[in-house]
Every structure is written in structure tokens, then in C-alpha cells.
């Protein structure tokens, strides 16, 4: 059993060991091991040149990572908290996402930006935000979010090995949750159903729980909550399927369509504000593919169009079990007008 933080740490350790071009940089990632300790011990075991602290400047961290990538390295920068990706947004949008295109493929920028993401830890302002729609809207970027330790290990390895820039959104409220992690070294695990962990399974979405009556679509920290909701709904005889989207860009429309073709109802759950959120994108894709079979419009249970609130109000803001259950109810009870 490993925590998500431990699984990410292990993945980085193995990545550093397998490829001398992998570098880790950011604020306090070296000796301290990052404020969430995800890079703990890595500077000691791989050297202070490969895992190094930078001055406190996010644009600098991203810009430097881009230059290192242009020089043939595979940088894995960290921004300390999601809200501090905003100061780097110019580098992320105008540079990171475009250099391959701008240079007609001559330059690759295999940068994996690790962003501790989403709320749920009662942190100060800008220490908990949901930027997925912002990142996913940027051409040239891929965006992924793990939901548990196995996904953290598997997806981080995949992201860092990719030649394209990836934004890796770590659900910080899940850092200390433990789970089974099958590592690459352990070989291919026996496949025992859709939810069995496999470090080789790196693309697309994942059916985290099978069900017949309704599909819940979530990512990051909301996957665990949706699995909880599914357990509660089962007590009322409602059989909920949970799809862990994993890749927020590109979105795996096939898995969504397959699930909803079966359940004919869907609810998307995310922490980010409702308007222009990724839930709208997911709902539209489901609608395009499953319009004829849908028994109700796709519902969304999301944060509100307000700045991410302070810790005391966080529980009101982040979709809680009751709000998700209400969403499920609305879909199940929908009557054509």
C-alpha cells in the first residue's frame, strides 16, 4: 500500500533512474522535497543538479523548463499550488503549448508540469483551485489528473515519457490516501476486471466502478467521492457506474459513449465553477454520441461561479455527497416537458 504522494514519489524516482535527461525543478523541491513532499529524498538520491530548487518565480520555472526541453532535457517542473500557475500562464499558453507548432516540429518540449490541484484541504486563497478547463482549452497541451495512488504512479510515468507537454493535476486532498500500487517492476498484473490496476494502462478514461442505471463522470479528487456516492446509491437499489476521466485533454469520448450507451443517464461532477467548465464539454460529447438513447439531459454537479471560497465554506462549494445524490435524482426523475 502506498499513498498518492508516495506513489508519485516512487514514479519520479524511477523516472530519474531510467532517463538521465529527466530533471525536477521548482520551489523547495530539493532538500525539503516539496511542500507536499512529493519530491522527498530525490535530490539526495539523484543529485542536486537533477532535482533543484529555483528562485520563487513561476514564469521563470516554466520558461526555464521550456529552454531545458529545447536543450534535450525532460523537465518535470512543479508549481507549489494550483493558484500559482496563474503567474506562469503566459509561458504555459503562449510558449509551452506552441513551440512544437511554431517550430514546425523541429523543437520538442516534453515538459510535465506538476500542479497540486483542487481544494478540500482548507488552505488559504489560491492554494486550492480547479484550473482544468483553463489548461484543457490551450491547444498543444495535454492534461491529466490521477484519482488514486495507482493512477498517480501510472499516469505520471506516461506523462513524463511523452514528447508533448503535459499538465499533471494532482488532487492534493488525496495525497495521503493509500491504495494498492502495482509497479512496472512487478510485471503485468493479472487482469481481473475493468478496475484492476495496471501500470501499462495509460491512455483514455477508466471505468472505476461498473453499474447499470447511471454514469457518474469525475476526475481527480471527485472520483473517490463519486465511488462513495455509488455505494450509498446502491443501498437504494441504484446501480451507479463511475467513469474516472483521467485525461482531461484529450477526452476519451469512446469510453464515455460506451458507458452512457449502457446506462442512458449521466451526471458530470467537478469542483471547478459551472460556467464554461469541463463538465459542459463532457456533457456535449455524451450528447453528440448518445442523444438518441439518453433518457435525460446530462446533469452537472459542480462548484459555483464564485472564487474558490475560504476553508469554512469549502464544504458548501465542493460537490458533496448530498448534492451529487440530488443530481442523480434529477436525472432519474427527469420527465420530458
Amino acid at each position: 500500500m502506498l499513498s498518492l504522494q508516495g506513489a508519485l514519489n516512487l514514479a519520479l524516482d524511477e523516472l530519474l533512474a531510467e532517463d538521465p535527461k529527466v530533471l525536477i525543478l521548482g520551489e523547495d523541491v530539493g532538500t525539503l522535497g516539496g511542500v507536499f513532499r512529493v519530491t522527498s529524498g530525490l535530490a539526495a538520491s539523484h543529485g542536486a543538479e537533477r532535482v533543484f530548487d529555483t528562485p520563487l518565480a513561476e514564469s521563470g520555472i516554466l520558461g526555464m523548463s521550456i529552454g531545458l526541453a529545447m536543450a534535450g532535457f525532460r523537465p518535470v517542473p512543479e508549481v507549489q499550488f494550483d493558484g500559482f500557475a496563474y503567474p506562469a500562464m503566459n509561458q504555459i499558453v503562449t510558449q509551452l503549448g506552441r513551440i512544437h507548432y511554431r517550430s514546425r516540429g523541429a523543437l520538442r518540449v516534453p515538459v510535465t508540469l506538476r500542479v497540486p490541484s483542487f481544494g478540500g484541504i482548507r488552505a488559504p486563497e489560491h492554494h486550492g483551485e480547479s484550473l482544468e478547463a483553463v489548461f484543457a482549452h490551450v491547444p498543444g497541451l495535454k492534461v491529466v489528473s490521477p484519482a488514486d495512488p495507482q493512477q498517480g504512479y501510472t499516469l505520471l510515468k506516461a506523462a513524463v515519457r511523452m514528447d508533448d507537454p503535459v499538465i499533471f493535476m494532482e488532487p492534493k486532498s488525496r495525497y495521503w490516501q493509500k491504495g494498492e500500487v502495482v509497479t512496472e517492476g512487478a510485471g503485468s498484473p493479472t487482469h481481473d476486471g475493468a478496475s484492476s490496476p495496471s501500470p501499462q494502462d495509460v491512455t483514455g478514461a477508466r471505468v472505476a466502478r461498473e453499474g447499470r442505471h447511471l454514469t457518474l463522470v469525475a476526475w481527480g479528487a471527485m472520483v473517490a467521492r463519486c465511488l462513495q456516492v455509488a455505494e450509498l446509491a446502491a443501498e437504494d437499489g441504484i446501480d451507479v457506474e463511475v467513469v474516472d476521466l483521467r485525461w482531461l485533454k484529450p477526452i476519451d469520448t469512446e469510453t464515455l459513449a460506451r458507458s452512457v450507451a449502457k446506462t442512458r443517464r449521466a451526471v458530470v461532477v467537478h469542483e471547478a465553477p459551472l460556467t464554461a467548465g469541463l463538465g459542459a464539454e463532457v456533457a456535449q460529447r455524451i450528447t453528440e454520441r448518445c442523444f438518441g438513447t439518453l433518457k435525460a439531459p446530462v446533469e452537472r454537479v459542480t462548484g459555483f461561479d464564485v472564487p474558490y471560497p475560504s476553508g469554512d465554506l469549502e464544504d458548501e462549494y465542493i460537490p458533496n455527497i448530498d448534492r451529487i445524490l440530488f443530481g442523480i435524482q434529477r436525472v432519474l426523475e427527469y420527465k420530458r416537458g
Binding site: P55, A57, G63, I66, R98
Partner: protein, 330 residues
Amino acid sequence: MTAVRQLDLAAVAWQRQGILPAYAPELGQEAAQVASALALDLSRDFAFPTYRELGVARAAGVDMVEYMSTHLATWHGGFWDAAATHVAPIQAVVAGSVLHAVGWAHGQTLQARAASAQSSPEASALGVAITYLGDGASSQGDVHEAMNFAGVFRAPVVFFVQNNGWAISVPTERQVAGGSVAARGAGYSIPALQVDGNDAAAVLEATRRAVAHARAGHGPVIVEAMTYRRGPHATSDDPGRYRTLDEERTDGGADPLLRLRERLLGEGIADEAELEAADAAGAAEAEAVREGVLALGPRPGAEMFDLVFTEPTDELLRQKAAWREESEHA
């Protein structure tokens, strides 16, 4: 330099003739650009230009038709191979690539250290990044972050500032607190020097020294070349709104091209006939570039999709297929 001057003037004319949609002239900056680029060893150094670096690109061996393709609106960034030429693509966000130069330069440090650990001969000489920026760009936060990072990491990078007196309509004194960009170096423990940007020999000498300093592992250098941007900022600009022609004449200083000619003739390095031959070659080159530009033609639309990722997403391939089907039926 005469080839650069002629091509630059020709490009302005092509814009007026409707061949190029827009162009950013560099009249008066030829010495700063050409001489600084000649100080590089592009087999191992790497240049990060702005949108106004025709002279740098020409001196660095970039194909001039491929260079003009960006102004022709054929491809953002230009058409040359950045990996092969070691000249990064043009990008329009002022100061956007200054940090890349620092990162690239730090990468050279890391590679050299790895090589020296294996006692490979590469260890002794670093590849140097040169990043071009204007006095206006130096106001950007990214430049301050870049100088700070470069100072902290002692990255082998040369910040080559072309202070041409203006950032569109805003003069340097309304742009740069502290009077000069070079003055900033002190705060970052970066040695900085100002050089007469109209004097090609002085620029070459200063940049060579800066590159040698960085190559030897002594860290970054700021070179501020004091130039003057004659004429408009871009073909859409109207300098008459912010300065007079008289001011342009008095503030502009000596024409860098005439200065170089006088020097070459005065020191007997070249004679009139050789200079005339160079002018004629420049004119012929500009004409060949014009023909090349006219022959370029539009890019196939599929490139729009093909060059986004190294590994395209299914979604992008779907969009490409839909685009192809709809554009073929249109």
C-alpha cells in the same frame, strides 16, 4: 550588412506593394544584429530572436525566404528548421523567449558537468545562448525573472539588448527606470556593458567578449547595444505622431552601414569596387528572395493539425478528417 539593409528596405516596399501583409523594419540596427550574430558559434550556441531580427537570422545562415515566410503569414515562427540552424522560431510575445535562453543555457552547464564527470573534452567549452530583446521588452517581468535565474544559476547566456530608443511610441526614458538596461545587471550580479550599436566592430568585439565569458563558465552577461530605430516600428506604425523627421535625423546618430564602409575604406580593408560588388550582390539577393517569397504559396491546411503534437490525439485526427471532408465538399 548591405544585404540586410537592402532586404529590409525591400521588405518594406513589398509590404507597400501588397506582397507582405506586415513587416517590422530594422533600419539602423544592422550593425547590432549582424555583428552580434557573427560572434556566435552556431554549431554549439543557440540564438533566441525577437520579431525584428532579420540581420541576426541572415548572419546566422537562416534562409531568407524561410525567414520572410513569417511576415508573409505563411507560418508563425518562420519556416526554417530551428533545431538545425540553432535559431529559435520568431514569437510575438515580447520577452517570451528570454527565459528559454536561460533554461537552454543551464542545460549546457548540466551537459558540460556530465561530460566532465566522464572527463570528455566537451567539458571545457560551454554552448552559449544569446537572447535578443528590446528596451521595451526589458520592462516585462519575464526579463527580470530571467536575469535573476541566470544570475543564480550562472547560466551561460548573453542578454543582447537592442536599445533602439523606442518601444513603438514610447521612448526609453519613459520605458526603463534607472536609465539603461545595462544598469540592471548590478542587481543580478551580471556584468553588463553598453556598446555603440551603430559600430559593427565594437558590437562584434563586445559580443565576442560576452560569449567568451559565458563559454568559460563565468555566467551571464548583458550587452546593451545603443541603436536607433529609424522609420516606423512596423509597417502599420506612424512615427510622425510621436517624433519629427528632424528628431529622427539628429537622434539617430551615424548610419551603421556608412560607418562600416568608411572604416573599411579608411583602413584599406576593402575598396570601392568591392563595396559596389557587395551592394550588387545584396540587390540580387533581395530580388531572389522576392521571387522565392512569391513562389512560396500557401501551406497545406493539414499542417494546421499535424504539427500541434508529436503524438496527435484522436480528437485532433477526427477534427482533421472532418475539416478535410468539409473543405473538399465546399
